[in-house]
């Protein structure tokens, strides 16, 4: 049994990162993510870790990746504008296969948008923000407690598969204080380490599971890497198309294990299914409860992992349904994924707000009822 705390999502995120073994944080102030940095500036040195406020977000993610290469579990936290600035270096982390966690506490965009209000406009940026085909994992928590759990999982997935993992929180989840239980014990995963002597080590010779063991700078292994397409040795191989092809394809297929995380509510007989994630799912669940009380056969599918999108699981959840309703604080970013996953006879309808306000229970319920009757 863990202790109980009243924490905002941002506080829960910072504490979870320390519990997961994170010992290096670099960041740049931005609303609504700054509390993560503030908590860690105080807490990290208490546990022997390092906090640094860098000159911008580009430098922040650079330092995070560098620290991870020197062996430290590392993290940064930001919001939309800063997340945009981080994209190029995130591509380096994907290409050089450096574990790291990036928290994006989403606010209204594009550009400066509305700094203090929630949105979900960075879903596609998390997926396709950096250039080229690259792997990504993104998780969207809906509460303080889930932010804690998802932060620990983000480190575990990042270390296990050697890739950047994005936490797509939002201003509502990040700033809302909630009573929560802090887990008493955690499952912690460490990155695969080389088992061969330094002279035999090839930094990108993948093990059977597609994930190469990773040495740290300073542990005796003289290894090299670059953002240029490289072969098993880590050195550029830009003149050999089959090697380039193999390298890019391995990067994009190494998340082989089932990482699908989602919740299902009353799907057994659901004729209409609401698909909602992050803070919006709280209102969606309330809408489902209200509609159920009125006798409406409606359920909720809540993906906690957004990338890779749990398409197979969603397709199963839509088994009996004729309608999928997708409320989002954007103009329909996950909507397209739902359309791709849904069986052909399922109608997909979006409920979208981009005016800095939460989507109300009534709005969601109203769309479900209207669509059900039409």
């Amino acid at each position: 049994m863990g202790v109980r705390r009243v924490w905002t999502g941002n506080e829960a995120c910072a504490e979870a990162a320390i519990a997961a073994g994170m010992r290096f944080f670099a960041g740049y102030p931005i609303t609504p993510a700054s509390e993560i940095a503030e908590v860690l500036a105080r807490r990290l040195p208490e546990v022997g870790g390092s906090f640094i406020q860098m000159e911008d977000e580009i430098a922040s993610i650079g330092a995070v990746i560098g620290a991870s290469m020197a062996g430290a579990k590392s993290m940064t936290a930001t919001s939309g504008p800063g997340f945009s600035l981080m994209q190029e270096n995130l591509g380096f982390a994907a290409m050089a296969e450096v574990p790291c966690v990036v928290v994006d506490v989403q606010r209204v965009g594009p550009s400066s948008g509305v700094a203090t209000h929630p949105a979900q406009g960075d879903v596609m940026q998390a997926r396709w923000g950096t250039h080229g085909d690259h792997p990504v994992v993104a998780l969207a928590p809906w509460s303080s407690r889930e932010t804690y759990d998802v932060t620990v999982k983000a480190f575990n997935i990042s270390e296990r598969f050697r890739l950047p993992v994005v936490i797509l929180s939002d201003a509502m989840v990040g700033h809302m204080s909630e009573d929560m239980e802090v887990p008493g014990s955690l499952e912690i995963v460490e990155r695969p380490r080389p088992g061969v002597p330094p002279e035999e080590y090839q930094p990108y010779r993948a093990a059977g599971d597609g994930v190469p063991p990773m040495a740290s700078f300073g542990d005796g292994y003289t290894w090299y890497t670059t953002g240029i397409v490289h072969d098993d040795t880590g050195f550029p191989c830009t003149g050999h198309p089959p090697t380039i092809d193999r390298a890019i394809r391995r990067l994009n297929s190494k998340v082989t294990e089932d990482v699908a995380m989602y919740e299902e509510y009353w799907l057994e007989d659901a004729e209409a299914v609401i698909v909602a994630y992050g803070s919006v799912a709280r209102w969606a669940l309330a809408a489902v409860k209200g509609l159920r009380a009125e006798g409406c056969r409606v359920g909720l599918f809540r993906p906690v992992i957004l990338w890779p999108f749990p398409a197979r699981e969603l397709a199963g959840a839509l088994g009996r349904a004729a309608l999928a309703v997708v409320p989002e604080m954007n103009l329909g970013q996950i909507l397209g994924e739902v359309e791709r996953a849904a069986p052909k006879d399922v109608r997909v309808v979006g409920v979208n707000r981009v005016d800095s306000r939460m989507i109300s229970i009534q709005e969601i319920a109203g769309v479900v009822k209207e669509a059900c009757s039409s």
Binding site: R4, A59, G62, V64, R160, F217, D258
Partner: protein, 309 residues
């Protein structure tokens, strides 16, 4: 080349990665040779060095060196190096950057790495232009200089790297040229062993792009030009300003005095010490508030949250 240095070269280079992609007559090889001499003379084991390089001609240097290292994104060698150094302060971290890489796209990072006095050596290979992309003008291109993007002469003024490093707070700063290879190597060695942010500018001839555009002649001519234009700091101090135009002032512009200023990781170690002394047991840091609401409304059915592998 003495037998001893030939062996050193063998140890510090990766012969299987040679020849380099650099043009015939390029100055980069001379500067990297000076770096190797300095590293060999520093007494630090190769495994305890990390070389982080930028993007561009000189950025490829990290891949030819038989040292742990990497080549991240354009302009960002110093932020990446910052993470490496803080995560493992026992490592000797060297950032090899070109002039455009370090001072244009990476200019902001240069200022702040210097201000923090991180114990990193920044070796800036200044060839006066962007060589790899075809000879465009850089913040180091002399006023009036011809490049593919200043076909009528450069209207901008060139940055003075040591002056900028000094005002930004670097605690060791020096400049030399690819002609003065041994002097350069001496400066790099002092930079490596100095505990703090060190900047060594190596003026480096680029015969293929800048030299050709400005009719500076063969690589040998360009080296002779460096010899003739170079003037030591001490001599420059007694020369009238008018005579200094177009000259290359060499020497150690900033040298630590006595103990020198405290470097970043030493300062942060004290932060950690203070935080650990002041830290209260975790149970006391937050008030325990009993749950009033029972947490978030449990759903009617049991939700399935799938576990991650």
């Amino acid at each position: 080349m003495t037998g001893g240095f030939a062996r050193t070269i063998q140890t510090y280079l990766r012969p299987e990665r040679l020849p380099t992609i650099w043009c015939q007559g390029c100055g980069n090889g001379i500067v990297i040779g000076a770096l190797i001499r300095a590293l060999a003379g520093s007494g630090v084991r190769r495994e305890d060095v990390v070389v982080v390089s930028g993007i561009g001609c000189s950025g490829r240097a990290s891949g030819y060196l038989n040292l742990p290292g990497f080549q991240p994104t354009h302009g960002r060698a110093l932020p990446f190096a910052t993470g490496v150094k803080i995560a493992n302060p026992s490592l000797m971290v060297v950032a090899i950057m070109g002039d455009g890489d370090c001072l244009s796209i990476g200019g902001n990072h240069f200022l702040h790495a210097a201000r923090r006095n991180l114990d990193i050596t920044a070796l800036v290979l200044n060839n006066s232009n962007y060589g790899m992309t075809g000879g465009q003008y850089a913040p180091t291109t002399p006023k009036g200089g011809l490049t593919t993007t200043t076909p009528y002469g450069n209207a901008e003024r060139a940055v003075d790297i040591p002056a900028l490093a000094q005002v930004a707070g670097a605690t060791y700063v020096a400049r030399s040229t690819s002609y003065h290879a041994l002097e350069l190597s001496g400066y790099i060695k002092r930079a490596l062993v100095h505990r703090g942010f060190s900047v060594v500018e190596a003026l480096c001839h680029c015969p293929t792009q800048y030299g050709k555009m400005n009719r500076l002649g063969s690589p040998v001519n360009m080296l002779k030009l460096q010899r003739d234009l170079a003037v030591s700091q001490a001599r420059a101090a007694s020369m009238p300003a008018g005579e200094l135009a177009g000259r290359i002032i060499t020497g150690e512009m900033v040298k630590p005095e006595g103990q020198g200023e405290e470097d970043y990781t030493t300062a942060y170690a004290r932060v950690i010490k203070r935080a650990m002394e002041q830290a209260r047991p975790v149970e006391e840091t937050h008030e325990c508030i009993p749950s009033l609401s029972g947490g978030y409304d449990p759903p009617l059915g049991k939700p399935t949250l799938l576990r991650v592998g």
